[in-house]
């Protein structure tokens, strides 16, 4: 036991967790911490807004697999973190957010910059802790890292009243902590795996749906092994992109609202669907009561509460995805005498690929987003890392930007947070300074967090931002075109800002290529210079993302194109019940 101030114990606790970088904004309630950090080797990246700090920590976590750390002062500092906390948590990224708090004597008095961040984050975080004495700090920090990084990973909030930081206490630094109510569910039940293997052995048209859990569990190799053994196509969720390389012969691509025709059709014709580490969200399953009811669904997940939540399963395997896939593969290779002969089923995949190819019309004066995204892939080295914003840019990236391994593609899947991609890219760069990091952005999303350009430049975390600039909130506009009779309202952004000048104002590089070769050259130059670069690419505001399944429709109701003035009225529009679903989403 040693006596020291809460703030000193806090920084020591971070060091014991091997934290070498944290993202945040300083403020009154966390001054004692920053004063201790002054003497520490922990790198503090100063964001220009706390939301940016939270996404940086999130990006860092997703790229490194380690816990990302962010910090903000009390009150508005803390509330500004909330979007980032909810974003990380729903996508199961391990993150710890530290918030300053007014001294305990003032809690409840509506003091200056006091906010009930524990109450506010209760349903947005995996867990939260308010420290009540200096001596609790080491245990609280250890607990936060433990809970954030184990089981189904997520975001944990630790609220630190200022008096606990300033005052001293007897400190015990625990090497481990345990909670009797916290079950990790790591090891799958052998009988569950037996049953899963039995079902898979009998499958004639199997499909694997790989989610973010495959990546979190470092189970990509195991996934591909099982897929090859079964000769089963692998569809992925947005979070699962990268769990199998896009150029793998068994990869059928994204499944869901903007899924590939191949993935959506295979999912709908499968007799057995093996779900691995996916939440079966509405964006993946589309209309639930039209989701393949003939198929036997087997669900592997470390979070029991996800099983049977949305899609009913025939059997479950609760546990770590890597261990579960290993166990099932082992059993299955014994059961299958010869490698499975799914020739016809795989031919079906090829057939769907051709049948549901999105027509590639020639570009008008603007560049086509799909072309730009494909050209970006070509101009970047194979190991480059990519984040996306949210909206059309995200879906173009998901559909047309091939990635070749886990932890190479990062996107806000669950919360769909516009403005996430850019600060997240800064966090990714902090985790992987050795490779180029690109944010595939839209002008709307980038505008939400563009002030972090200052952090890129000042903290030497160079990121390339490709702004697919259509001067409109593209995805919302697409919905207004397709489902609201082309009535644009509250979507047109106009021609400001000038992103080249904006970049230059922050001391970054701004370029505006007008041809694909110029664009490729700009990308290569940015990679070569390893400099923060905003590449502003003008695209057609009328360009749609296809394929698309309208909200409220089934996975097979795929739209591939519409004429310029035509509305893609889903058949459901006449039926008031279904139309409501469309309008609600």
């Amino acid at each position: 036991m040693v006596e020291m101030s809460g703030a000193k114990a806090f920084v020591k606790s971070l060091e014991r967790e091997k934290v070498d970088i944290m993202f945040g904004v300083n403020g009154g309630a966390v001054l004692p911490i920053c004063d201790e950090l002054y003497y520490s080797d922990v790198r503090f990246v100063l964001a220009r807004h706390e939301q940016g700090a939270s996404h940086m920590a999130d990006g860092y976590a997703r790229a490194s697999g380690r816990v990302g750390v962010c910090m903000a002062t009390s009150g508005p500092g803390a509330t500004n973190l909330v979007t980032g906390i909810a974003t990380a948590n729903i996508d199961s990224a391990p993150m710890v957010a530290f918030t300053g708090q007014v001294p305990q004597s003032m809690i409840g008095s509506d003091a200056f910059q006091e906010v009930d961040i524990i109450g506010i984050t209760a349903s947005a975080a995996k867990y939260n802790i308010q420290v009540r004495s200096p001596g609790e700090i080491p245990h609280a920090v250890k607990s936060a890292f433990h809970i954030a990084s184990t089981g189904r990973q997520g975001a944990v909030v630790v609220d630190l009243p200022k008096d606990c930081l300033v005052q001293s206490g007897e400190m015990v630094f625990p090497d481990e902590v345990s909670f009797r109510g916290y079950n990790l569910n790591l090891h799958p039940n052998p009988r569950e795996m037996d049953w899963a293997a039995t079902l898979l052995a009998k499958a004639r048209r199997p499909v694997i749906l790989a989610g973010g859990g495959v990546i979190a569990a470092d189970a990509s190799e195991n996934l591909m092994q099982l897929a090859s053994l079964m000769m089963a196509p692998v569809a992925t969720t947005l979070m699962g992109k990268g769990s199998i390389p896009n150029d793998h012969p068994l990869c059928s691509g994204l499944c869901g609202m903007h899924g590939t025709g191949a993935s959506n059709m295979l999912m709908s014709e499968a007799d057995v669907i093996l779900v691995v580490g996916a939440r079966m969200s509405d964006r993946t399953t589309a209309r639930l009561d039209e989701f393949n009811r003939e198929a036997k669904v087997i669900h592997i997940d470390i979070d029991r509460s996800e099983i049977d939540k949305n899609v009913e399963t025939v059997t479950r395997v609760v546990g770590d995805a890597k261990l579960a896939l290993q166990g099932i593969t082992e059993r299955l290779s014994r059961a299958l005498q010869t490698s499975s002969k799914n020739e016809e089923w795989l031919k079906r995949m090829e057939q769907f690929r051709k049948q549901y190819e999105v027509p590639d019309h020639p570009a008008n004066p603007h560049l086509k987003a799909t072309q730009v995204v494909k050209a970006l892939r070509g101009a970047l080295p194979r190991d480059a890392l990519v984040t996306t914003e949210v909206g059309q840019n995200q879906m173009w990236a998901a559909l047309y930007f091939d990635v070749y391994g886990p932890r190479t593609f990062f996107s806000s899947g669950g919360l769909g947070t516009m403005g996430w991609g850019f600060p997240a890219a800064i966090g990714v760069k902090a985790a992987r300074p050795d490779v180029p990091v690109v944010d595939i952005a839209g002008d709307g999303s980038f505008g939400m967090t563009e002030n972090n350009l200052a952090t890129c430049v000042e903290d030497d975390l160079p990121v390339i931002v490709v702004v697919l600039n259509n001067r409109i909130l593209g995805m919302v506009a697409q919905w207004q075109r397709l489902f609201y009779g082309h009535r644009y309202k509250a979507v047109e952004l106009g021609t400001t800002p000038d992103f080249v000048k904006l970049a230059e104002a922050y001391g970054a590089v701004g370029v505006r290529p007008t041809t694909i070769p110029d664009f490729e050259e700009a990308v290569r130059q940015a990679v070569k210079d390893n400099a923060t670069t905003v590449i502003d690419v003008s695209i057609d505001p009328e360009e749609n993302v296809f394929p698309m399944v309208p909200a409220g429709m089934g996975l097979t109701d795929i739209i591939l194109e519409v004429g310029p003035e035509e509305s893609a009225q889903p058949a459901a529009q006449g039926d008031s019940g279904k139309a409501e679903v469309v309008a609600e989403d």
Partner: protein, 163 residues
């Protein structure tokens, strides 16, 4: 939809009741009644929740509770093996001697206790299964109920089984 009683042990510390209630609210699960009390072990508390839910929702309630860090153990109680009790405190008008007689007789029939008698009101305590309490309240309505307070259900399973 079936009425189900779920009992669970939680860490006896600040904020846990809030977190439990918040989970129910956030996921849109309705609580019919909830009761909380300390255990012999001072660091644990037992909560009993009665819900009216279909099988899918019930499964989600149990799984979402189990997932909470501060929830130690969760069990759906087997209705056949479960002893359920709820306590009612009831205050009724009693200035009319006939009404008072009537009230005393009903309380007696339900094995209740008279806790307090004032010139114009009395307070009684009745314990029983929730349906018994409901029936008792119906019986007392014509007499003139001034105020009631129910504790919510608390329950234990028979035999050696424990949570």
């Amino acid at each position: 939809m079936t009425i189900t009683t779920i009992a669970f042990l939680v860490e006896n510390k600040p904020g846990v009741l809030f977190n439990v209630a918040n989970m129910f609210r956030r996921r849109g699960f309705n609580i019919d009644s909830i009761s909380v009390g300390a255990l012999v072990e001072p660091d644990l508390a037992r909560m009993t929740v009665v819900v009216d839910a279909d099988a899918k929702i019930l499964n989600q309630i149990v799984e979402q509770l189990s997932k909470m860090v501060d929830v130690v153990n969760v069990k759906r109680l087997d209705p056949v093996r479960t002893m359920m009790r709820e306590m009612l405190l009831i205050k009724v008008e009693s200035s009319d001697p006939m009404a008072r007689e009537e009230a005393l007789r009903h309380v007696n029939t339900y094995h209740g206790l008279i806790l307090n008698i004032e010139p114009d009101s009395l307070i009684a305590e009745v314990t029983g299964e929730p349906e018994t309490i409901d029936a008792f309240i119906e019986l007392m309505k014509p007499i003139g109920i001034m105020e009631i307070s129910r504790t919510g259900v608390t329950a234990l399973e028979k035999g050696r089984l424990k949570l």
